[in-house]
């Protein structure tokens, strides 16, 4: 006995309804994700000191006076690699205007994160946060996630995904912060 695709009109209608519901639910969840409030907006950015995957350690408070971009990534996150490359391009352009950038890896396995960092070939420091203390303090709920901090050390913007549209928004926000 073999399975046959139901071709009855009632079945088709049920399937179409389910499909519609699924599409609406997906759209709603994406919209909710994009508009989730971020408690740290307008607050002082939590300070941290982390080891870099390659190179020396880094401390956020040493970069007061610069616009700082924090990008949270993981070796298992495919869009993270694309986003880190895009961030690297913006750093090349705006570094002289006072832009500092850090990638913060949330992998449990530092060796895996180091492999990712070596292959990412970006000019900014990729830091390791295996204990996830910094990720918790920045309330990371999505990867990739980008946090923009102004020159006075206040969290100003958070971007919870990566797409060409969000990259445009990121560049717009970054230029505004650099001009302040």
């Amino acid at each position: 006995m073999s399975w046959q695709r139901p071709n009855h009109p009632v079945w088709r209608e049920v399937a179409q309804r389910w499909l519609r519901v699924a599409v609406i639910a997906l759209g709603c969840s994406a919209a909710v994700q994009a508009e989730l409030p971020y408690a740290l907006i307008g607050q002082s950015a939590p300070d941290f000191a982390l080891r870099a995957a390659v190179g020396g350690n880094a401390r956020l408070s040493e970069h007061r006076g610069e616009v700082v971009v924090l990008s949270f990534w993981s070796s298992r996150c495919t869009p993270c690699r694309t986003q880190l490359a895009a961030l690297n391009r913006s750093l090349t352009t705006y570094h002289s205007a006072g832009l500092a950038m850090f990638g913060i890896g949330v992998d449990d396995d530092p060796a895996q994160a180091r492999d990712f960092a070596r292959s990412a070939s970006v000019s900014f420091e990729l830091l390791l946060d295996p204990a996830k203390g910094v990720s918790r303090s920045y309330q990371v709920d999505n990867l990739p996630m980008t946090v923009l901090i102004d020159r006075s050390g206040t969290v100003r913007t958070v971007l919870r995904d990566y797409s060409p549209e969000s990259e445009q928004l990121y560049l717009q926000q970054l230029r505004a912060l650099l001009n302040e």
């Binding site: 300070d47 020396g56 350690n57 401390r59 408070s61 040493e62």
Partner: protein, 231 residues
Amino acid sequence: MLQMTRAMSEADETPRRAAPAALLAPLLAVVLLAAAPPTALGAPPAGPEAATPAAAASAPAPPPGEADSPLATAGAAAESSPDTRGLDQEIQDLKKDVVDLNKDLFILEEELLFPANTQVAVFLSVDVGQFFGLDSVQLKIDRKEVINYLYTPREVEALLKGGVQRLYLGNLKVGGHELVAFFNGKGPNQRAYKRGASLRFEKGVGAKYLELKIDDRQKKLQPEFAIKDWE
């Protein structure tokens, strides 16, 4: 140097200081309001001699012909410059008062949080640093970890230039205590290097100051770690 020490230890002490800072902030605001001259606070001038640029701005404008004449402009500049200088002086005095007050509050906060009879401070210094590249220091007092500090290249550079960092400031009761410090970093030939140093010390009624010293032992081509008790 004091500023560097404060800055380096600030990040680790922020949560502990948050509560007293919140209490002291309104106090600072009240004292500032009381200390500020009425003109600086936007209050109306007391008499004709207390005229300010704000009052001048609100005064009726001269006729257009008079205002445009060079003589009138020169006269106005001559009249307004002493006022501006006076205002500048007032602002500078106010800034100085704020700085002094901030200093006093800082000292008061430390005296309240860390009274001299229980205070213990641990400092760290690096001499030469040819055989050891400092990465982190873990400090334990009476087997309890009190701080684990990660050093950035800038901080290491500051220490190598002669800076002394106040690594830890806390309270201990009178009596015998044990301090253990673990130093992590790169040793000779850029290899991972971890060493420890310990000291048993007696805490008296006065403040206790201890110094972690990282030095180079030229004879053995090895770094040396020591804890010095400032009597």
